[in-house]
């Protein structure tokens, strides 16, 4: 194995640049290095102005999402040697506005996530000294969807999100479903009102790439299809029993 590899990294400084363009860097190719290590090497030794997000460096915080050779990846979980001999193209996550270099503006995701009301909603609160019990089966019902680390790789992979500004996106819908399926939650109808609005979930055409790129096996595509089925049942119920069905 060669001991160097070339990275083509997107650079964009809004103060000087009209649009993003790639810069080339040659970094050491160490067997155990991930793409994030290469980026930190560039920042430490080659070009201190390179900007990118990262934090835990172990695949749990969701900060370091970027496009590596056109595929959304967590750079802390993507081995450099898998791309030997290179070059490796590192670009900011697709479908988000680029703030600088590899840093994107994620506020649209945060707005849409909040619309899903990703918290336990109770119609009737329990007294503070009473616990919510949950069997293993009840937890199993939503556990997979709770593994989401909000890394937004699914948004970078979803063509509908890239094309339709009103689409809520995979993670937001998967997290809505996570709470809908939680036995402690009573807020399913609240979420439905917001998400079943035209573009909320119905823009999804089950491309399925969100599930393919998810580093936590959340399977957001499945969550969305299940949500469509739920929304359809609710629509039928509302048709047959209007008003009094609450």
């Amino acid at each position: 194995m060669a001991n160097r590899i070339t990275l083509e990294v997107t650079r964009y400084n809004p103060a000087h640049d009209e649009k993003p363009r790639p810069d080339t860097y040659e970094v050491p190719l160490r067997k155990e290095w991930v793409v994030l290590d290469a980026l930190n090497y560039i920042k430490d030794h080659l070009d201190g102005s390179l900007s990118f997000r990262w934090s835990c460096r172990m695949g749990v915080c969701g900060s370091c999402g970027m496009m590596v050779n056109g595929v959304p990846k967590l750079t802390c979980a993507t081995f450099l040697s898998d791309y030997a001999p290179g070059p490796v193209r590192v670009e900011p996550m697709s479908h988000f506005p680029v703030l600088r270099d590899l840093v994107v503006d994620t506020s649209d995701f945060l707005v849409k996530l909040a619309k899903s009301k990703p918290w336990i909603i109770r119609k009737v609160e329990k007294p503070l000294d009473e616990e919510y019990f949950q069997t293993p089966e009840q937890m199993d019902a939503y556990k997979q969807f709770s593994m989401c680390i909000n890394c937004m790789l699914c948004y970078a992979a979803c063509p509908v999100y890239g094309l339709d500004p009103l689409f809520s996106g995979p993670a937001a819908i998967a997290l809505a479903q996570r709470y809908n399926l939680d036995s402690r939650d009573q807020g399913a109808s609240d979420r439905l009102d917001i998400l079943s609005h035209h573009e909320g979930i119905w823009g999804c055409t089950f491309v399925g790439e969100c599930t393919q790129v998810c580093p936590k096996n959340v399977d957001p595509a499945a969550a969305i299809q299940q949500y469509k089925l739920t929304a359809t049942m609710e629509w039928l119920k509302a048709l047959v029993l209007p008003r009094g069905a609450e």
Binding site: V71, P97, D105, G162, V207, G208, E209, A222, Q226
Partner: protein, 135 residues
């Protein structure tokens, strides 16, 4: 990003290319799957033409049979067959994702839901073939 200021400069919005679906094989497969719906509609048209010909009499029906033997229509229908089968396979493989069925506490796997669909497909197809061929 609305008003760029000294401290919040203009962000860059990359336009999605018209050819976004060519960038990855997964996207190409997706578009092919969606395109299968056009061939589904074509088969409906063929079926309607057959019904109309049956209504008009044996001569009309024989004429339609002849057109179906032309190289153009044979090719079109062969391609339609490929797409319709592609639709069926992708449909049976993906539909289970929407259904969460629990048996004795454990969730049924996608295969457990898809398999009966495939069996039904074979049985129904055989039944239709038998009805058509026995006359």
């Amino acid at each position: 990003m609305n008003n760029p200021t000294e401290y919040l400069p203009r962000s860059y919005h990359t336009r999605v290319s018209t050819y976004w679906w060519l960038a990855r094989w997964a996207y190409v497969k997706f578009i092919l799957r969606e395109a299968s719906s056009v061939f589904v509609a074509w088969i409906v048209v063929v079926t309607l033409l057959q019904i109309r010909a049956l209504t008009r009499g044996p001569a009309d029906y024989a004429e339609l049979q002849n057109s179906l033997r032309s190289p153009l229509l044979l090719t079109l229908n062969a391609v339609s067959l490929a797409f319709v089968i592609f639709h069926a396979v992708t449909w049976f493989n993906l539909a289970p994702k929407a259904m969460v069925i629990r048996l004795r506490g454990k969730r049924l796997s996608s295969l457990a839901i898809a398999a009966p669909n495939y069996v039904a497909w074979v049985v129904i197809s055989a039944a239709i073939a038998w009805i058509l061929l026995r006359g």
